[in-house]
Symmetry: D2
Subunit: 423 residues, 4 copies
């Protein structure tokens, strides 16, 4: 009976033992700093099996045991929660769902049963504040219609829970500030669920920009569009959504232009359009086009629509090279290409960056922030800044393209980079 | 407080309520038959949000509650178990890990803690047979070196457990038969973990072939190669692996040629090669090339190597069109293209088939087979047939390419198609 | 001695004899109308050799004998003329170069020698008007700096020659009108060299739009950029070029938005940018962004730059599908993809449309227009309309994005489609 | 009147003047050696217009004047001659068609008229030998059915003409030797038209192999297939073609395995197949599969078919990387990809190598060989070697896969590399 059958050959190669652990694609970024170390208490060592010219096989360390994981309450059980968020917990290292909040008890109970959530951790909206008494819940993940983000964030903060809130942060910048203040007062963390900022291909673009691989940044061009159905859905009701394509899918373009460049826009101009008579667009815009001017001369030209066939593309042009993501904003199937001249030839490269579950990465980031008491990369200030720009975009669009100036944000909008060493 | 905030708009569209559930990509295939119905006791209905010209958003029903899931014991904790299988349980609908078997107790305990497995459900190899007394374990998943598959399958069967066994099924056809007999005698099911056969792109190829979309099948061309490292690893020790590239990665080409065509080969010819002096290939072959002849005139030309840079491609040529998968056999990132003439133009099509976790699909299939008392699609007969052909390939290769005839298998090698209605 | 060795097997298949001829990719479009018939007086029949499921091999008929071809004078011997236009004559069916006009006699003589052009058909700019006495010259192809297009077109018309003029047509709409009037007065044809409109993939997009394959047209998104070098080149001198990126490369985006949609914009808004201190952009803009509004609600969002790495992309979004060209505006290597939902899957298709030399197609179109006395598809009215819109774009950009209204053009801007039957 | 309008700005940048010339993609390879210099007597200098981070615009020098070009007689006017070879002359730098040989006078006259060939330079097969008296003809390009290559090559050599002969060189190695002897005796050059060896992407693969970019070469995998139509065509008649898919399209795989690796095979094994009753394959094989063993351990696994849908792929696997061409053997639209690990990621690169007309490159090579009195890269010895291997392939296939040993060729099969300096 082999005592150690899984690692036969290890003995021959102790010097080559590899250490793995941490949160998937973030692992290399996290390596070597305290933020990262906290993530891998249970590392497992396995020897590599492939030649050094192959992709080295990486063993994610075992995630935390269930009872050690950060407990999340999911507030709102629509498509995103049921299709993406709840399944994503199985791909996290540090998170687990421990409570559900829904207006439909039967549905909530079915979902709770699947994920091993106790029946008494299923709340309705009226009873939501009782979550304060639930010690399993450390984070409240707000997945409600946009206009309800603020109230539920404030209520969660008052209940003493940290908050992860879906984008867009809210429907007004005043609400954003209210959310920030409430979390500050309560001494809880607030993170906005900008999943792209945790996704490895997006991070690779940021890294290329920082290293000057594109030369001088020139232009960000992007569209994020999809053709909506059911005119009765909440996303098409202004009081719930705060707008149409812009806050829902256009915000991806806006946010990517900002975090990829690392700059903040100083001026916006925008045009808005809805086809007359289309019942879907009685309250919210079908289409928004907007241009952003940044201090360095970098600019962004973006389009977002609720009436065009699904199209999710971004292209970032520098003086010396460009990168493209297409699809750029999808939940899965992202593709990154870059093009530059090598040896007198225009060479297109497609890096083999494996996809990761963006929701799992985002939730694990929140969990690590709690454990290390760091501010999230995408905290309330980041969401507020997008909201301020979105308001300027609407202002310009309502004035048929009048240029609207933007003040600089009060301070940095993003928290410390996960990969930066902690001082 | 909205009573039903997640489904606002549903009321307007009751006639469009969609029913979802079942095992991801197999759901459409399973729809409408008893095999499928058993999979979705907890369906959740959500209305679609996109226009009919968009991909319709599908809500997987909630998977089974933890205690209702089929319990698996994982035997062997190497790369595959730790990196792929254990994480995949979170993506299944019907499975959970309930026991681990390993020669390294510390490692096993770490993994057990992560997945909420009781400490007393962690076994070593000597104590494996005690699993008979563990009522949580319904399926034993054998993930050991190839030569140990037979013994552990037999022991599991004797313990009254169903068996899911990694490919290759064993190292000899005699062992395969021993495994089949033991499972038959014990009245337990035996499934071989041919994950590709449960993967949606592979199924789409099978579907295209069945519908005649390629015309007359002509040729299957494939390579599955990777450049191995550590000469001490068990895969390079003949007594444990039973061979080199052929049984480990070449078996993917062999199996795909068979299940994609639906035919069984009648003759093989093969050549084997190892670079002299390479310490990795003292016991097993580096490279195998083999050709298969099938009754209809269809043929397969395959290559597999442990010394070439990772390359995993298959191309299936018919008289009227071809399909390609590249990569074809990877755990993720699979890509399917087809080419045929449309309107006088050679048109390349890339269907938007979302990837699914192949291990999750395979494990859910096993679980559904238990529940519906069906034979697995890839049972022992399927593994035995590949083993018989592999033996013929080695016989030909050892005789430097002598043609070796193959008898037809005793009966069908594959169980009922999951998508076929149950009579 | 085989009497007919090339067509062995023809006898067996007379019913399958194929007729070919005409101008390459336009052949199928031209088939069956008088315009087309005139193009193929010398058809050669060869039997097909491939199965009907393969791309049918097409034999272009022999082009016209040299002395029967339409004679072109090339005015200006820069990159485009030497690298693209002169070599393209060998790929035409109906054209030949018979005269050159250049300020550098030695260079012109070298080029003339290569193409078998008589020494006395080499002119300098002062002597250009003597071309009137050269009966070999039927068409003058103006390939000079933009500001010189008008004068040389007028002089060519006065010399009784038809004119093919490079884009942009001129540097002012007044000049465009002067060119149209001069050609009208002289009774000669005027065509603007919008090569994209003759290129098969572009035509396929137009065809898809016409057939409603994209649903309702929603948005055209495009960039055409390149990073310029030598600050002394004429393209960066306003007096010669009339502008920077906009008229030179931005005009491709503008023109494509118009001919692909078949609509004319009613309003434009634009922003202009040049990096301070860059010697290349002392006189002309580096970057122009512009948005166009069309009557149906269709809109265009375009970007063009002389400072970003070469990037040439367009994406046309409809309610039901999108098409992309990338690169879209290159001389060669164009790629067309489309995406729509088929059987519940987002399917990307890449039609196998072989590339053709765009300059050869454009010149052959001019030749056929002379022979059949038709107006060119892209005549003076097409160039004037782009010039009018370009002026509005500059007007808006100089007013920092003020919306500028556009009157409809006086009549149709494009001539009869080559593929439409001639009444 | 600007005296030098095309080169405005040149004065400012004399130090950056670029010299161009020579045969397109071969230019960089040819640069700086006598072989190359002879090709560019008429260089034209134009300044670059793009930034150094862009692909530098290259001006091909003017090709030779018509009367200075090497005169070719095309023997046989089937698809290849009419569709590919005659049009390709317009893309050469040094070649022109001056005579045609055909059994169908009317067709030949039409083609002659198009290309400005004198009527008295149109021959029939009986009168072919009179070509000896035609001083315009320097090279005879034999484009006849395979079995006629030998006789027409011998007759051309006796007429004192150099010979460019289509692949396969002949239908027997005895014929190949007869062709070599005849050309040697006559003191004329003999080149076989292996167009791939002159194509830039293929050359890039050779260059990567030479520089060790793939590590140790391991395997060449390829298919070249097409579905034939008309059963009466000469390619399906053994007496004319000498075989089916193997000599016609399989020879591309065979030749590429050899020139890409730079090795000669020492052993072959092959299997042949034709579907019973298919009238197309009464005389020749539909399918050939063959494996080649090379001295270093490198091997090739190839498939070729006349019954499968067009598929033209090659993949070359090394220990450290792979390269793929798909399509690999087409006249146009070739695509090259490579994959290796960079920074721990599997990176796919697609170099921007512009396509060139393979026939033009091949003919220009022949012309330069005449002018510099060099042996062609792909002379008679190269064709003979493929023929010897083809005979061994048939021998093995007729013996149902018996291994057949191959003697090394008598000497190098390929002439000096065009890019190597001439000693």
């Amino acid at each position: 009976m082999p005592p150690s059958i899984e690692t036969l050959g290890t003995a021959a190669l102790p010097r080559r033992g590899f250490l793995y652990g941490a949160a998937g694609a973030l692992a290399p970024l996290l390596a070597g700093n305290a933020f990262a170390q906290s993530a891998q208490p249970n590392r497992i060592e396995l020897p590599p099996t492939a030649a050094s010219t192959e992709v080295i096989d990486k063993i994610p360390g075992p995630g935390d045991a269930p009872e050690q994981r950060v407990g999340f309450a999911i507030v709102g059980l629509g498509h995103l929660s049921l299709e993406r968020l709840l399944p994503a917990f199985g791909r996290t290292q540090h998170c687990r769902p421990v409570a559900l909040v829904s207006g439909e008890r039967a549905k909530a109970r079915k979902a709770a049963a699947q994920y091993g959530i106790d029946d008494d951790s299923v709340y309705d909206y009226a009873g939501f504040d009782r979550i304060a008494q639930n010690p399993k819940v450390q984070v409240v993940y707000v997945v409600l219609p946009n206009s309800m983000h603020a109230d539920y964030t404030v209520r969660a903060a008052r209940a003493g829970k940290h908050v992860l809130c879906e984008k867009p942060m809210a429907t007004t910048s005043a609400d954003c500030r209210r959310m920030i203040d409430a979390c500050d007062s309560a001494g809880v963390k607030l993170m906005i669920a900008y999943r792209s900022q945790y996704e490895p291909m997006n991070r690779a673009v940021v890294d290329m920009v920082r290293k000057g691989r594109l030369g001088t940044l020139k232009e960000f061009i992007s569209t994020n569009s999809q053709n909506m159905g059911d005119p009765g859905q909440w996303r098409l009701r202004s009081a719930l959504s705060g707008g149409g394509a812009m806050p829902d899918v256009g915000v991806y373009c806006l946010n990517a232009a900002r975090f990829m460049s690392g700059e903040e826009p100083t001026e916006v101009v925008a045009w808005m359009h809805s086809p007359p008579g289309d019942p879907r667009f009685a309250e919210v815009e079908e289409t928004m086009r907007f241009m952003l001017r940044f201090p360095s001369g970098f600019q962004a030209t973006c389009h977002t629509s609720y009436g065009a066939h699904k199209s999710q593309m971004l292209r970032l042009l520098g003086s010396d090279a460009w990168v493209e993501m297409d699809p750029a904003y999808a939940y899965e199937g992202l593709r990154l290409r870059s093009s530059r001249v090598v040896d007198g030839q225009e060479r297109v490269e497609q890096p083999g960056i494996g996809e990761k579950d963006q929701f799992a990465l985002e939730m694990d980031h929140m969990a690590l922030c709690l454990r290390t008491n760091r501010e999230p990369l995408t905290g309330g200030a980041e969401g507020l800044q997008d909201m301020r720009i979105t308001e300027a975009i609407y202002e310009s669009a309502r004035a048929d393209g009048k240029a609207v100036k933007l003040q600089a944000p009060a301070g940095p909008t993003r928290g410390p980079d996960p990969e930066a060493p902690q001082s």
